[in-house]
Every structure is written in C-alpha cells, then in structure tokens.
Symmetry: C2
C-alpha cells in the first residue's frame, strides 16, 4: 500500500519520487457501496482525533447511564458513523513509510508513558514495547554545535549542560521551576495568574534572562526552540514552552524524554490502523477517503455536508489552520473566526537522511542562527548499516522539493562531513490539509482563544489536538479531544432517543 504523500529524493542521482509506501493508506478509498447518505454521526478527518472519535462512537451505542437514578436502556445497535477524509490514508499529521526495510516517521513520532491518552491506548492494543531513538554506543558519540557562525565538536554532556542551564533559567519563572504558574498542566489556566506569562513571546522572555547566559548558551537554546516551535522567536508564544516544560515534569530531561526518546517499533501508521481496524470491525463505519469537505450546513436538527451527507451530529477534527477552508452555515462566531487566523505558527520542517555508514548513529548537532536545519540527531540504523538522521529546520522560503533536499543537505554538510544517500520527508507547511506542523501558539492566544476553539457550534463539535487541554500538538491531545467529543455525542444521541422513544 502507498500514499500519494511524502517525498523521496535520491541524492545519488537527484531523482525525486512523490508518494511513499504506507500501511495507513486505505484501498479501496470507500466502503460506501450503497451510496448511503444518512448517518447518526459524521466525523471529518481520520487523524488520531477522528479515529478515536469514530471508534468510541461506533462502540458506544449499547447502553445509557443517566444520573444517579440510573435509567438504563439497552440498545441493540450502536451509532452509525460516516468518516470523511481528504487524504488517501489515515493518521493526519502522522504517517510511517518503509523504505528499503527501514521505518521513517514523517510526522508525529515519539510517545511516552506520561501521555495518558496515548499510553492507555498503546496498552490496550498491546503496544507498550518501546524503541529508544538514542544510542550512545557508536563512533562519533558527540554533538557538533554551529553557534553564532562558529563550529565546534563537544561532548553530549557539554551540549546538555549548556542547553539545560539556559532552558531552566527561561522556565524558572517563579523560583519553583514553573510549578506555581502551571500546577496542573492538563488545565493550563488552572492558575489565572499564568496569563502574565502567556502574553510574552519567547524573544521577550529570552531578553529577561539574556544577561544570565552566554552567547553560546543563548544560541544553543534557540536552536532547540527553533526545532520546537518551527517559527521565529518573536512569533512564538512563551507559554507553550512553559506548558511543555510543566508536562515534562518541570525538567528539561523530562521534556526531552517525553517528546524525543521513545518510538513505536512498528510505527505510527500501525498504531493508527489498530483504531481504524477495530472500528471497521464493528460494522458501523462507512468511510470515504479522498473526500474534501467544503460545506457544513446545520439546520438545528441535522447537519448536512457538501449538500450530500446528513447526520444528527458532526465532529470536525480538521486542524486549526485549515478550518477556514470550510463554509459553515450558520457562520461560526466572530470569536472563533478570529481564533482560526494563524493560531498554529509552526511552519517547521522535519527531514530524514540516510547517510553512509554507522558512524553518525550517536551523533547530534545544533545550529543557530537557522537557515534551513537547526538540529540533526541519529535516530536508527538502516538494514544496509547506514545511519538514519532525523533533522528539524525552518520552512521560511517555500522552495521546490529538490531545493528543499539540497538546501538541507548543504546545511548538514556544512557542519559535518557526511555522505547523504537519501532524503525522505513530507512538507507539512505546504500540505493543504495541515498548513503547518504540530500546533504551537503565538503570544497572547491560549487565555483568549482556547475555550473558544473547544466550543461547539450547534450540532457541530470540534476535536483536534490543536486545542487540547493537555498535550496540545501531540498525538495525546488528539486522542483526548476525540474521546471527549465522542462521549458528548453518544450521550446526547442516547438522551434524545430516550426522550423521543
């Protein structure tokens, strides 16, 4: 199976291939052979939020738990669901490709036991074996830093100490490492005084601590932050960094452990397939891939999509930056429309390189100021014995895929003598169904818009990791939102039928 998404540049002959093998590709694209148009629920988007919502709605139909007085109703059939997805695959901003026997994660990758929604699902599907990304046992076990125009090779420990000092100073906003500002990171507004920090950009916060760190410490910190935000420091909201820090247990080691250490051995597409296959197994799911949603019309009793499909409720799981491409009738609230304008600032690039030999398996790199690449790190060995490097960088100038590959390669070769064989990536910034990577907010956004983004509009519910309460921008946040939307929809449909019947 293959998806039309993803790019493969063969550095040896400069040939570009579009489309990659992917277990998440769905063939045939639809199972709606009867051209059915009426459903209980329509779900738009087959990323983790949509997949979770589909599964939970399809398996939720059996009973109804009311108040303490417990009116129990046995329903033999669950709810029927239509899943509409613009892509030819499941997974949204995650998908895994296999090239020459090695797995590459094109989007969301790392998982952790402190991501409760993700880990619980992994556990339920028997997928708790983890594959560490890092391995310190190969050749060049060190970090090349290219900071403020100078390149040098330092030990991982030195690079870690430089980054950690600067990171801690940045996040220690209260002398308690941020604990008093964000005491409950799954409810980031738990302490209303956090609003002060939410108004700052990262650039402004860096100004506050600048005299306490050296030029190189400031540069290596910004290399890391560039990879985290995929945006310039003046566009980046500091609060999102503080939230990640709090979610990671108020330490940098915790932060990187939760976001950069452990992969699923069989890949994200395999994980996503468990959700999809379980849902298909209920025989309550109709799906249409390759199907772009253009209009959603809610007449107060039912929702109609593309003037074609109807349901009592719709769960829209489209990402923040593409919501504006749908025509909603009635129109969304002014506040919601405002929130939809550029909420996700992350236009960062993620690129995989296969480089000759195993010598760079334990190597990493940090670069600042950023032209294309800001970080590179050994992420595995291919069956051919070569190193798999994962790189993050910027997408400031939209170039051709060939130029993308060449400019990344140039940046990497500039700091380290490597022989690049292959370049494999997906351009999330140019992707019309993503328009960006994992969600990071600008300054002064979360307190103003998070609640708005989580709000429903009549019979339309919105569920995406881009407005999760906990691990926003992570797979965990997608599952969080999908679960809650499915629960609300199932509860309402049970109640309305109970009242009606």
């Amino acid at each position: 199976m293959a998806t039309r998404e993803g790019l493969f540049f063969d550095n040896s002959n400069s040939v570009l291939q579009r489309g990659l093998p992917c277990q998440g590709a769905i063939k045939p694209l639809t199972n709606n052979t009867d051209e059915r148009v009426e459903f209980d629920v329509i779900i738009v988007g087959a990323g983790y939020a949509g997949l979770t919502a589909c599964r939970d709605v399809c398996t939720a139909g059996e009973y109804w738990r009311g108040s303490r007085s417990a009116i129990l109703i046995n329903r033999a059939a669950g709810f029927s669901v239509l899943l509409l997805e613009a892509r030819d695959r499941i997974g949204g901003r995650t998908f895994t490709t296999e090239v020459d026997g090695h797995l590459y994660e094109m989007g969301g990758t790392w998982v952790h036991w402190n991501q409760p929604h993700t880990y619980r699902e992994m556990s339920r599907y028997g997928l708790t074996d983890l594959l560490p990304s890092h391995d310190r046992t190969f050749g060049l076990d060190s970090c090349t830093v290219h900071l403020n125009g100078k390149t040098r090779n330092v030990s991982h420990e030195t690079a870690h100490a430089m980054t950690e000092k600067a990171f801690r100073l940045m996040c220690d906003v209260d002398g308690e490492l941020g604990r008093s500002v964000i005491p409950y990171p799954h409810d980031p507004h738990f302490n209303p005084e956090a609003k002060y920090w939410e108004a700052l950009s990262v650039a402004q916060r860096l100004d506050q601590i600048r005299t306490q760190i050296s030029d190189d410490e400031a540069a290596i910190l910004q290399a890391r932050l560039s990879s985290i935000y995929g945006a310039d420091m003046d566009k980046a909201g500091f609060f999102d960094m503080l939230r990640w820090w709090a979610l990671g247990g108020y330490t940098m080691d915790g932060l990187y452990e939760t976001g950069d250490d452990f992969k699923l051995p069989d890949g994200q597409s395999s994980f996503a397939r468990h959700f999809f296959d379980e849902t298909v197994g209920t025989q309550k799911l109709i799906y249409c891939f390759d199907t772009v949603v253009q209009s959603v019309h809610d007449n107060g009793r039912a929702v109609c999509v593309n003037d074609k499909w109807r349901a009592e409720r719709l769960i829209c799981t489209m990402p923040l930056n593409v919501l504006c491409d749908v025509k909603f009738e009635p129109g969304l609230s002014a506040q919601k429309l405002q929130a939809m304008k550029g909420g996700n600032i992350n236009q960062g690039a993620k690129v995989h390189l296969e480089v000759s030999g195993s010598g760079h398996r334990s190597w990493s790199s940090a670069i600042y100021p950023v032209s294309r690449a800001c970080s590179m790190s050994g992420d595995g060995l291919t069956p051919a014995g070569n190193t798999h490097l994962v790189c993050f960088g910027s997408n400031k100038e939209f170039t051709s895929p060939e130029d993308d590959a060449r400019s990344f390669a140039a940046d990497c070769k500039h700091v380290q003598e490597i022989d690049i064989l292959k370049t494999i990536w997906h351009d999330w910034a140019k992707d019309p169904f993503a328009k960006g990577s994992w969600c990071m907010y600008p300054p002064d956004f979360s307190f103003k818009y998070l609640a708005t983004l989580q709000e429903r509009a009549g019979n339309v519910l919105f569920a995406n990791s881009d407005w999760a309460s906990g691990w926003r921008g992570y797979i965990d946040g997608a599952i969080e939102r999908g679960t809650l939307a499915a629960r609300d929809v199932a509860t309402e449909l049970r109640t309305s039928r109970c009242t009606a019947g």
Copy 2:
C-alpha cells in the same frame, strides 16, 4: 448507603462506631434473582482491577479483529460476566466515606495526570477537575519534625530541603538520578542490570549514603519512607522506592506530586461507581457481593467457583496477601506459591483526624523513629471549619480499634497541641480481604516473582495492582492489569467461538 467497613472513634466520648456511609456500598447485594450459574467469564473482586475487567469484558463482545487479513465477525451479544466480591461494596482498597458533610478517603486517594490508566478513565468519565490536598494559606504554615527524640518547628521549605537532599542521594544510584537503571519505569526490568539494586533493602541502601547526610536528614527521610512502605527499613525492598522515583520523573517533587497532591473532589467511591454503573448498564453483568471465594476448580475446559458457578475463564483480582486463602485445583505452580508468601510487606496505617479550628490546615509533621504515627498533614477543612489531618503510621502491634485511635492521638499530641474531635480510618492490615495496604515488595522479589505473578494458570488469569508493571500499588496499576486481562479473555473467547462456529 453504608458499608460495614471503616471505624469512627468519637474522641469526645470515646464511643467507637463500626461501619460508615459509603457511595460504593451495593444494595441489594446481588442481582442474580434467577440463580444463574453459567457465565462466559467470572471475575473475582470488585476493586479497580475487577471493575475495569468487568466493564471491558461486558463491552468487548461486538467484533473480532484478527490478523492483518482481518476476519471480521459481528457478534450481536457481548460476553456475560459474574462478579463475585467478598465485601459489601465496590472499590477494594479504596473507599470514600462522608462524615458530617466531609469526604474521607479510607484507602487509595491521590491521582495524577502521569498515571495514564487512571487519568484516561477520569477523562472518559469527565472527572478531570482535581482538588489539591495542600493549602499554604492557613495559620501554622510549617512542619513540626520530631526526629531522634527532639521536637522542633521548621518551615516547609527547610523540611523539604532536608528530605530532598537525602532522597536524591538515596535514588541517585548512577549519577543520572536513576535514569540509566530504570529508563522505562513501566517496564522496570528493561535494564537487566537493575537487578543489583533490587537485591538491596532500604536499610542497606541507607548505609551506603549514611556518611553523606546528617542524623536529622536520615531521620526525616526514614519518616517519609516509613509512610511509603508501612514497614521497617530492613524489610523494605529499595527497588520499589527507586521505581516510584522513576515514575515520578526522577525527582522528589515529582514523586510527591504524583502520590500525595491531587484528589478527586467527589471521592474514589464515586469514580469506582462510574465503572460499575457503566457495566450494569450493559445488562451483561450479574453480581454477588458478600460472597467469599473459597475454591476455584479448572478442568481445562471450564472453571468452577465454590462448586457452584461455572465459566470459560476466570479473572482473579484478589490481592497478593490473600491469594493463599483460595483453594486452586489444580494447584498453582511452586513458583507462584512461593511468590504469594508475604510479597506485600505494607502493614502501614492511615488515619484521619478532625481537629478543632482551621489553624492546622497548612501544617504537617514528620516523626522518626516511629511508634505509631510517622507523618501528619493538613488535607482539608470540614464544613464545621475544623482541620482534616491525614496521618500515616505503623501497625506493628495489633491493638483494639479504641487503642488504635488513642495511640495515634497520643503520638500526634506529643508533637503538637491539637484538640482531636474525631478519628476515622479502616484497618487494612487486619482486613481479611486485603491483609495489608498498597503493595510494596521486600528485597530481591521483583526480578524473581513479578513475571510469575502476572502469569495465568490455565483458564484462570490474575489481575491486581500488586503485580502491575507500571504504577504497582496504585489505582493506575489495578486498571492496567484489569484492562490486559479483559483484553486477553475477550480475544480468546472470540477466537474459540470463531473456530467452533
């Protein structure tokens, strides 16, 4: 509703009351009005492991997901379950009582977003609002330490710094705060070299660091460890502490945040009811409370309990220390019998006090060496405006409940002038269905017996937090085990029916 469990001592008139109001009490005790004896699955025990297993088996019956070739079978009916429970309530080693309008948690209490199984279920049931136990805004905002025979009052910050220094030294076994020894705390044997640390008692580990800490630092650390282990330091396996430390993100603040900070506003019994009510709602559950399981006979095709009830599979969720009270036929393996001997060393006591006035709401205390109490801490304000103190201590001598209350009161009054109005607790050490509190292992146990305890015996599966892989001894570990057992059972029954049909 009331359970016969729990003790209430009125300190003003020395009157003892047995049995307390509890939302988890089930009336009538059974819904098996037809005296049904044949079921798909029997589940023994209605703690979180049993409740989770019940719910998952009762809701699991609809479909079957096989290998990639996806043989899908639609089953109209799910699996029928018989739940047998010795107590008159759900919740196992957790239950909440309400006395004069205030909730007291008699057993397991605190929850955290880094407990994936617990938090995901909280999220699913809409229970993510949390109630902090600690409040620093009242009267005596300090800590009374009674260490090595001397009492003094210090700031919370001083007590924290003393404990943290000693705790960190104890757990920094590798210069990486334990990260290299337990890199993946949900798989504690991930690094086989951890076995070295597993063989040590806490007393032995303390000897290794003793010269680096003062007498008072050693004493306050042991006060904390006494409350964690409910056992003497030479009986306590050091590895379990290191595991908690790793689960808490390799910091003491993380450890206490995950285990001691946030409560469910409506209490554990309310949380447990969500599982139970959801399962009852499927109409696939028959339950019998007040029912002690004495014998389990597995003839290879079916399991028979108490020579009365039969099922294809049995999930036994009884705690480690009471497994030996059941006669299994065929007998359990020698290795399993060995593991069942005193695996849970925790005989600690947890006692709630209501004391006059709000002055002690922000107060805490640490006592070592321990006679009865080793820690006290403000945990809330009652509607009458009094302080709710939660105390931990030892149960070395089994005394009468009246003596229990008086000896705890004497210890507390010895370190602080308090006017105790009420004492509320449950004696988990004397409880015949628990024989101890949350599970803590002796030295040299986990590498030897954990896998054995997780093993099934024919058609009998064992699921209890006492042998969880992750948060062992926590509610999270119970849900972890319940989920896995239910998944295995449901998969097997689907497969066998698929083959048979």
